[in-house]
């Protein structure tokens, strides 16, 4: 078992013929990811990277029974691409596209409420399940099948945690980038929930950053759980000073949240081991898991 995807997941790529889509799908397929088709309006009926291309998500789902999609569509059309996948009832939608207008995603979120699709992202590096495949832009060759679940808001920082857990031999059960935008689909809490339920995941690394309330909410959620797994967290930006602010609303909307201190305090209260330097993620997780055995 793993989270979000497994070896039976049938994946399509929206924007497969583009530069980014081609680059990443080619690598993912070479590493064994089960990509069964692509979507690019106007190129239906052709083939790309050895899989059929369709004009719409509905056509692709009809022909391939796809149940997951990864979206590499430019920002102006990305929200429509997500909604097209929602309408076609694709269960898992991973949106890599960054720089999507936030109000577009606000509308997408409203539509997701009444659907059973899960959106990961936008502005997400995607999902990687070692031994199964990658949806998104995570680099190949740094993963190792193993027992650590990684959930992150920042993309490049994710690879840092992957690298450390690969080098110390723990490996990863799955790695999920929930996206760095202010409004995203799957939350860190929901991802933690999946990891807690997953048998292969023995420990969890949570990577957060200053701003927003995501880590505080994840901490609140964790504190109330009966099932416990070791969780190691790192909050990026502890030593970077706050830049220019515009007004008071951003500060008072969720008062007392958003800073590194508030996130670290909330996580520690929930029993999470918070490391102050990102270099300690891997070894701290190894120590915690050693004590378990």
């Amino acid at each position: 078992m793993s989270i979000l995807i497994d070896s039976s997941t049938r994946i399509i790529c929206q924007g497969i013929t583009g530069k980014q889509g081609t680059f990443h799908c080619e690598r993912a397929m070479a590493a064994g990811t089960n990509i069964v088709g692509g979507v690019r309006n106007g190129k239906g009926g052709t083939r790309h990277l050895g899989v059929p291309v369709f004009n719409s998500v509905a056509d692709a789902v009809g022909a391939t029974q796809a149940n997951a999609t990864v979206i590499f569509v430019p920002p102006a059309n990305a929200a429509d691409a997500i909604l097209e996948a929602v309408d076609a009832e694709v269960g898992l939608i991973v949106c890599v596209t960054e720089r999507i207008p936030v109000l577009d995603i606000v509308r997408v979120k409203a539509r997701l409420e009444s659907s059973s699709s899960i959106l990961v992202g936008p502005n997400s590096p995607g999902i990687a399940v070692p031994g199964v495949g990658t949806l998104g832009i995570m680099p190949q060759g740094i993963f190792k099948p193993g027992c650590v679940g990684i959930v992150s808001r920042a993309s490049t920082l994710t690879y840092e945690a992957v690298n450390q857990t690969t080098r110390n031999g723990l490996g990863q059960s799955a790695c999920v980038g929930v996206g760095a935008d202010p409004v995203v689909g799957l939350s860190q809490s929901e991802c933690l929930q999946q990891f807690l339920q997953d048998d292969e995941t023995k420990g969890i690394i949570l990577l957060g950053e200053v701003g927003g309330v995501s880590e505080e909410r994840a901490a609140d959620w964790l504190r109330d759980q009966v099932v416990k797994k070791p969780v190691v967290a790192y909050i990026a930006g502890q030593t970077v000073p706050e830049g220019r602010r515009m007004g008071h609303a951003g500060t008072i909307i969720h008062y007392g949240t958003g800073t590194a201190e508030s996130k670290i305090r909330a996580l520690k209260n929930a029993g999470v081991s918070v490391v102050s330097s990102p270099v300690d993620l891997g070894n701290t997780m190894a120590d915690l898991l050693k004590h378990l055995v």
């Binding site: 109000l103 979120k109 490049t156 995501s214 990026a236 030593t239 000073p241 951003g250 270099v279």
Partner: protein, 423 residues
């Protein structure tokens, strides 16, 4: 993207939102003239910067003047404008080095018995548009809400559909307004909401929002932030995008799309991806090293932009060593980073120690190019080793620099690099 108060008020005026009469001035004489055109005083002279807290701020050259000055005579308007124009204003909301004032906004002073706080923004938690209001308008709003959270009224306005009448009624009642004021506030929120959506805004803040005896409302201050990601479809807002960075380094960084923050130390840092860039600064600080900056460059294919980023760091005279921490992934490849450094060196010879951690896509290729170049770059296997090495260099500085033999090897290695042709 932030816009100035006078621009925000112009947008509001066009949307039928009441604002005081005002005129912009970039010289003292124009300020005096503007006051005359607005009619009888008193007036308010307001420094135009992309930050709030102006009334609590001060000017670097004259700490007795703040960013909002009440003037009873045209002479006082002129004197306030003279103090502000060209000066640097520091407020609780600016970065530490402040912002330079290039224009002042002169308004007829409006006094109202009631001053509210009103804001609209996207709530990341709910993924909806939220409206915040408080009966305690003014600069003390943060303290007031911290001490008594009930002073803040928060309502969701949904996902872009028209605002529900009951939400408006709820806000008005919670603020303790009478029926006239409630109706005026309701109309105002509806218009702000339409503006918010039409212009792809991420923040509207009116603090204070004046309420007169007759119940009419007027936006005494205005702050608007537009969604950078939507500027492609908001050409009018995009044209207002003036950067107001103080330092030339910040300005060049902004022009290149680099995310740059100046810090107090002497280690230049270079990274890609905001999370990893923050982690780099955190790791250095944690071990006792002192970063001179935070730098996050977007994933790029062009080696010329990477070169530009290195030149930017090298132009900082405080920087005594450089730490590069890049995880190549997606379109960002480590060899582009290496080539960028080598090109920067050709333009401005590097005489300080450079420690590089390159992992991910094409890390080996980058390492072999750097090795062949003869440039004294130290490659480290991971972030921990890099941070330790930097801390060591800081406590025990060594001289470094490329030899003439190194130069020849560098040119040769660059000739074999694809990246140079692409620049």
């Amino acid at each position: 993207m932030h816009i100035f108060e006078y621009q925000a008020k112009e947008l509001m005026r066009e949307s039928g939102i009441p604002v005081p009469r005002g005129l912009l001035a970039t010289t003292e004489s124009r300020a005096v003239e503007a006051a005359g055109e607005l009619g009888e005083g008193p007036w308010v002279v307001k420094a135009q910067v992309h930050a709030g807290g102006r009334a609590q701020g001060y000017f670097l050259n004259d700490r007795h003047v703040c960013g909002v000055v009440f003037a009873k005579t045209a002479l006082e308007v002129g004197s306030a404008a003279r103090s502000m124009l060209g000066s640097v204003l520091v407020t609780p909301q600016t970065a530490a080095q402040g912002e330079q004032v290039h224009s002042v906004y002169i308004e007829s002073a409006v006094k109202t018995p009631v001053q509210l706080f009103l804001a609209m923004l996207v709530d990341g938690e709910s993924g909806q548009i939220a409206c915040l209001a408080s009966a305690r308008g003014g600069e003390e709003i943060e303290t007031a809400v911290r001490e008594d959270p009930h002073l803040l009224i928060k309502t969701s306005l949904g996902s872009g559909e028209p605002v529900l009448a009951q939400s408006l009624d709820f806000m008005g009642s919670q603020l303790g307004l009478n029926d006239e004021a409630k109706a005026a506030l309701g109309q105002l929120i509806n218009r702000l909401h339409a503006l918010f959506i039409e212009k792809d805004l991420s923040l509207i803040e009116i603090n204070p929002l004046g309420v007169r005896e007759n119940g009419s409302v007027i936006a005494l201050d205005a702050r608007i932030t537009a969604d950078d990601n939507a500027l492609y479809r908001q050409s009018r807002l995009a044209a207002l995008g003036v950067r107001s960075e103080i330092g030339s380094v910040e300005r060049i960084a902004a022009q290149n799309g680099f995310n740059f923050v100046r810090l107090d130390g002497d280690v230049g840092t270079f990274s890609s991806g905001a999370g990893l860039a923050m982690a780099t600064v955190d790791a250095l600080t944690h071990i006792g090293a002192r970063p001179a900056n935070f730098l996050d460059i977007p994933p790029v294919l062009e080696v010329s932009r990477v070169k530009q980023a290195f030149l930017l760091l090298l132009s900082d005279e405080r920087v005594r060593c450089l730490f590069v921490n890049v995880f190549g992934a997606g379109i960002m490849r480590c060899d582009t980073i290496a080539d960028g450094l080598l090109l920067a060196h050709l333009e401005k010879p590097i005489t300080i120690p450079v420690v590089m951690r390159l992992a991910g896509t094409n890390a080996e290729l980058a390492a072999s190019r750097l090795e062949r170049s003869g440039l004294p770059v130290e490659l480290v296997p991971d972030l921990a080793a890099g941070a330790s090495r930097i801390a060591e260099l800081q406590s025990n500085p060594v001289e470094s620099g490329a030899t003439s033999g190194g130069w020849r090897r560098l040119l040769k290695s660059l000739a074999g690099s694809k990246g140079v042709g692409a620049s």
